[in-house]
């Protein structure tokens, strides 16, 4: 071999994507030195439980970790936790870190994730206003969820609604303020929005749609006491959670002159413009061969799939990112599973009804299934995964006919 020397691969960011990358590199017996730099004090962990069973106090912190820290370290990976990467010097291939040290890299993977979008409104810095992104946030919020307290959630997306469900379980008095005309508008169709509206209303959550927030009122002690509305009036609050989306963490890449556009731009092999630098997860706007356009996605599936692609790229294999995105959410006794991106549909087909134990919405475009949202109906999600991945043309009548088994729709070559 021309060059037997060990190279150093540095991963910046210690979240889900970084964790999945470490795992894949270990499984594939990657020969080079690997150093992970993560700002949080924790080894890579899963965020989904932070608004679900971890927030509800049903699982402990350790169960969030993708693996025990020792597994990576015993295998020779270095984890530098509690350390922030401050600057990339692309000419010298070094990164300066918050502990004043400098790391040399041969290859660099940016897995910096996203951060919460902050509200820029009067009173937004008051005590008692929470955001939810990491373990510390979830711990701080959980402490406040005591029976009888009034929690106002700004934002009716899936994280806000999962918190509403977790808080209701603890007899917290919950109000959700959503600026749009329906819940989870960005990610799902009207039937699902309506279903979740009913679910939360029945659980006692006060839901207010078309309701824009203008600011926050303070108590004499400087704690938040209410949320003021554009329509006039104030909603009294003991605790506020602002959950209005995330912003990709691109500062490091931008300062280094890498092309970014609401996400670090990467190709289907997770490569940036700089051959030595790759990027994965929430922080990227990427090419996924599955779509025609560049996409930015915020999901575990995207983080782990891109991690597997970058591992292949690092090892000199060509494994393009081409999987259909998928997602899940738990609220009360409901498990929502989604596959595909529904926003581009031109036809919706309902299988079953929201009154049934389980039902699903199929989203079609030009007669092909492009997305499925399934409520307590895993078979629709699983069949949907195949239909979406294969861009199957399906007769809509068959999708809704309860006498036709969903499974039979994927067993043949093409069903019309």
């Amino acid at each position: 071999m021309a060059n037997q020397q060990k190279e150093t691969t540095v991963i910046v960011g210690g979240g889900h994507a970084a964790g999945a990358l470490l795992t894949t590199l270990l499984q594939k017996k990657y020969q080079h030195e690997v150093v992970l730099v993560g700002e949080e004090p924790h080894p890579p962990y899963q965020r989904p439980p932070l608004s679900k069973n971890y927030l509800a106090g049903e699982v402990d912190q350790e169960s969030l970790y993708l693996k025990p820290r020792s597994v990576y370290e015993n295998a020779g990976h270095q984890l530098r936790l509690g350390v922030r990467a401050e600057q990339i010097d692309r000419d010298n291939k070094t990164i300066s870190l918050s502990d004043q040290s400098t790391l040399k890299y041969d290859r660099l993977v940016l897995a910096t994730g996203s951060h919460v979008r902050r509200l820029n409104a009067p009173g937004a810095d008051l005590k008692g206003i929470h955001y939810l992104h990491d373990i510390a946030d979830s711990d701080a919020l959980r402490e406040q969820l005591v029976p009888g307290k009034r929690l106002v959630i700004v934002g009716g997306g899936y994280i806000g609604l999962e918190v509403a469900a977790s808080a209701t379980k603890k007899s917290v008095d919950v109000t959700v303020l959503e600026a749009a005309e329906r819940l989870m508008q960005r990610v799902t169709g009207p039937e699902m929005s309506e279903f979740f509206y009913t679910k939360h209303s029945n659980a006692g959550v006060d839901l207010r749609l078309n309701t824009a927030v203008t600011g926050f009122e303070a108590s004499d002690q400087g704690h938040v006491a209410g949320v003021t509305l554009a329509s006039g009036g104030t909603v009294p609050a003991d605790i506020v959670l602002v959950s209005v989306g995330v912003v990709p963490e691109t500062a490091l890449a931008e300062a280094a002159g890498l092309p970014c556009d609401d996400g670090i731009i990467v190709d289907e092999f997770t490569r940036t413009e700089d051959p030595a630098i790759l990027a994965i997860g929430d922080c990227t706007r990427h090419r996924n061969l599955f779509f025609e356009k560049m996409q930015r996605l915020e999901s575990v599936a995207n983080a782990v799939d891109q991690a597997r692609t970058v591992a292949a790229t690092l090892m000199g294999e060509k494994k393009p990112y081409n999987s259909a995105p998928w997602f899940w959410s738990n609220q009360y006794d409901v498990r929502l599973q989604m596959v595909g991106l529904s926003q581009y549909h031109d036809q919706r087909v309902l299988r079953g009804s929201p009154e049934d134990k389980g039902f699903a919405v199929f989203y079609l475009r030009d007669g092909c299934v492009i997305a499925v949202d399934a409520v307590n109906l895993p078979i629709a999600f699983m069949v949907g995964k195949t239909l979406v991945q294969q861009r199957r043309q399906v007769n809509p009548e068959m999708l809704k006919d309860p006498d036709i088994e969903l499974k039979s729709l994927v067993s043949g070559q093409s069903i019309n």
């Binding site: 795992t23 270990l26 499984q27 899963q46 989904p48 439980p49 993708l66 693996k67 025990p68 597994v71 295998a75 575990v300 599936a301 782990v304 998928w326 899940w328 738990n330 498990r335 599973q337 307590n376 109906l377 895993p378 078979i379 699983m382 069949v383 995964k385 195949t386 499974k407 994927v410």
Partner: protein
Amino acid sequence: MGKITFIEHDQTEHVAEFKAGSSVMQIAVDNLIPGIDGDCGGECACGTCHVIVSDDWFRKTGTPGGEEEQMLSMTPERASTSRLGCQVVITDEMDGMTVHLPEFQM
């Protein structure tokens, strides 16, 4: 404490130690066993933790629940003793158990 053997599709064997209370998926993940992804972290939401329990141990693990059954029904290489690894909670009685891994996960 006990041991469980994972057999990959190509017959490679991995023996892993477990503590009761964990799941078959988590043990595989903690031990870097290839062939189990566990992408949803054990929520029964992804179907990437399919294992085939060896016949004589299936009585100990029990049969899949309703939602798990729906997830399994579409996994490639479905067998009569298939389970989702995240839904099998390990008990001390499972010491010595063998599970097989499919070639592909969902």
